[in-house]
Symmetry: C2
Subunit: 208 residues, 2 copies
């Protein structure tokens, strides 16, 4: 393997390992030293790939986003009638790898308060997924599976918020949110996209 | 004012101040010293009320929960047809005080990974609100405003997840989630409670 590709793969492996450590112990409880120990390497090896802890944290966050993206890219396209639901399933914490991704993301929610860089990474992750969902709902609308009067972007935004809420609860309380319940909840929301939108609240658009 | 009540009030005021500091700067960036400075007091005064930073953080979290509870307690009871929506409005970040409450809660999401105590506080906050929503939806069911075939607890759980997701996005991206959009999204969800539940996914209950 060429040295550059090898180095990229090694960096990615360390980032993924960091993501798992963060998901398990929290972002505050990871150091270059503990990461090196977990990787079975010296701190020098870690600092060869990452200048400091902040770089490790960002790479770990991105590695989790990449894992979610890989799952999304393996899905059938917008023509598939299951596409909207599959996009949600790809990120719901239905198994341990997806649960780990959420824990890594949620580990940085607090950091977004004081670090504009983390807030931006989070907004970008949400915006990326919202765009995919909007396109999928638009396609479902053209195919007659979603009511023609509905707004695809509004529905994508609401659906994604629901997924975020379900995931946020499920990772900390799997007993209350087993995989089946997560799926049923999202499925019920997607099912009602076939119905007309709720009537406008008087003046709601004018006031926004 | 009796000394004890005075002391309780002072402790609560400091906890509320801590909550605001956490919401603004993050939980990592608050210290007994910075809290004392913000309170215009000495560190000795702070340590008179709180043994250490962990106690301050927990008191701040609880102070935010108390503020939400006060808003909920001011609402009309289960007989009011707006009750379900009002329970959501009471906690959505529709204005600065409610936004501050969410930021304080979200500041501790990451801590819940490594601190069972924080995870427990979060589960309790969610369970408390879910119970209120379940009762309100049950009352709406008896009054014929919610479809008789629906499960009040399932709907409360899903609605609360939606509120959590909307709030989590809104506090970091108010442009994408202005107050009107938050309300419309939750309102649309509540409106469809009048319709029959989505048909069961084959085998979904048996598998859970």
């Amino acid at each position: 393997m060429p040295a550059r590709i090898d180095a990229d793969a090694r960096r990615r492996d360390i980032a993924r390992l960091a993501a798992r450590l963060i998901a398990t112990h929290g972002a505050d409880n990871i150091s270059l030293r503990s990461l090196a120990a977990a990787a079975g390497a010296s701190t020098t090896v870690i600092t060869h790939y990452f200048a400091n802890k902040a770089e490790v944290l960002e790479a770990a966050y991105r590695a989790s986003v990449d894992q979610a993206r890989e799952r999304v890219e393996a899905l059938p396209g917008d023509d598939d009638p299951r596409r909207v639901l599959l996009l949600c399933e790809a990120v719901l914490p239905l198994d341990e790898p997806r649960r780990m991704n959420w824990l890594t993301w949620l580990a940085f929610v607090g950091a977004a308060i004081s670090e504009p860089r983390m807030a931006e990474l989070q907004r970008r992750r949400v915006a990326g997924h919202r765009e995919l969902l909007t396109r999928a709902i638009s396609a479902a609308k053209r195919a007659g599976r979603v009511h023609p009067d509905r707004d695809a972007l509004d529905d994508a935004r609401a659906l994604l918020a629901l997924v975020h809420g379900v995931a946020s609860y499920a990772v900390f309380d799997l007993e209350d949110w087993p995989a089946d319940r997560q799926l049923d909840t999202v499925r019920a929301f997607v099912a009602q996209l076939a119905t007309p939108p709720a009537p406008e609240r008087p003046g709601s658009k004018a006031a926004s």
